[in-house]
Symmetry: none
DNA sequence: AAAAACCTTTCATACAATGTAAGTGTTTTT
DNA sequence: AAAAACACTTACATTGTATGAAAGGTTTTT
């Protein structure tokens, strides 16, 4: 995705010379749909697009598909970099940039995602599993440990049922004794912050069995 | 990494039976270099190693590479857990331990780290100005507010002199009264964490005037 | 050597995170 | 309809972390 025709040509050439098939996109309506349709192995995204924010595209892409995204920009400001990483960009390169470096990064990304690229149901947020920093809607919040651990478990099993035992394990590392109440309190707190952040996901209760993370729209199916 | 040959054999078997290729390490010189060279998907680390501290290895590993680390230790050393988690271990299991549990944790860690890009060209760290989450060396830490604010100010003026007034402003929003001591204490704490994280930048004191953030190598120029 | 500027540690306080306990709400069973 | 089981939320006490005050140490300057 690149609006400058000259740059676009050059990028295409670089990759095609190396044997990669390339799709160029210069029109940016419904671009995410298009990309998902095309199902490429890697997305090269220029942040400086006319009339539309590359950040928004990046975020939406990362929400709807598990694809490696390489962000290109001339603005080599720290702030943009941060922003991009929040939105899940995998790499970030300032242009101009040597083509060897670009190809190396691209190859690296492709290798890393090999066999794993896939469309993913609506995740509109990112959770740093080390700090439990939660990035959503260009906001970021640090979750308390317990809430972070719980959300992490749900993310590892999207749409699946998660038993109370599993959740207790994640919190206290033991299956022996399960403190139902403490778990409920922590879940309640997590739900509250999820609501406050207007997340598109919800924690659904499966009476007698456990819980499940589910997109809000899906709530009434089943 | 395991010194006991019997245990080592057993662990290898468990994982190989499940289809994971395994490298065993029983010699602990330059072990971190070796690990980084081998670039495994997961490190299994015994804390009780002869002649060397598993904690140190864990810390160094986490400084220099983004790898999931699963710490193993005997059950009676539970208080080590805190220590290990502080050094960035991702999981902590007491042995003996059922192999299903071990495999589950390992699989979970592998999943969690998969696709997580922490390569950051240019600056070797990033600071989220909302949460003060600091990303460095494929680690992430949430700084206390004051340390975050200070570092933020320095980032806004890289290599430039920053006066004490400016810093106090950032901390307490006033120029009227300046608490030199409190500022010094907070700077001291920031320096400490920067050292612990092995950051390539340093805060340099300009006697009588203020402070300056500067790359370590540059320190002796001027 | 003495003074000035700066640094770091220790301690007390304030605040946030967590578990306990109690009370309320909601299903399911009788 | 009542009772029981399960789930949710709030309030409070405890614990742990972040912070500033104070004191003593170190480096630089005179």
């Amino acid at each position: 995705m690149e609006d400058d025709p000259f740059m676009r040509e050059e990028l295409c050439e670089i990759f095609e010379k190396d044997g990669y098939p390339v799709d160029c996109i210069a029109e940016f309506d419904h671009v995410v749909d298009e990309i998902i349709q095309a199902a490429p192995g890697l997305v090269l995204l220029d942040i400086n697009l006319p009339g539309i924010s590359g950040f928004d595209i990046c975020r939406e892409l990362k929400c709807r598909a598990m694809l490696p995204v390489l962000v290109l920009t001339s603005r080599d400001q720290m702030k943009d970099e941060l922003h991009a990483l929040h939105l899940g960009a995998d790499e970030y390169l300032a242009k101009p940039c040597r083509k060897e470096r670009l190809l190396a990064r691209a190859a690296n990304l492709l290798r890393r995602y090999e066999g794993r690229s896939q469309l993913r149901p609506g995740m509109d947020f990112l959770l740093d599993s080390q700090t439990y920093a939660l990035y959503i809607h260009d906001q970021s919040v640090v979750l308390p440990q317990n809430q972070g651990r719980l959300l992490e478990v749900f993310l590892a099993h999207p749409d699946e049922l998660v038993t109370k035992e599993t959740l207790c394990m994640a919190l206290w590392g033991t299956t022996e004794y399960i403190d139902e109440n403490a778990l409920q309190v922590n879940l309640s707190r997590l739900k509250k912050t999820m609501k406050e952040l207007a997340m598109a996901q919800q924690i659904e209760t499966v009476r007698g069995l456990g819980y499940r993370l589910i997109a809000k729209e899906k709530r009434d199916e089943t």
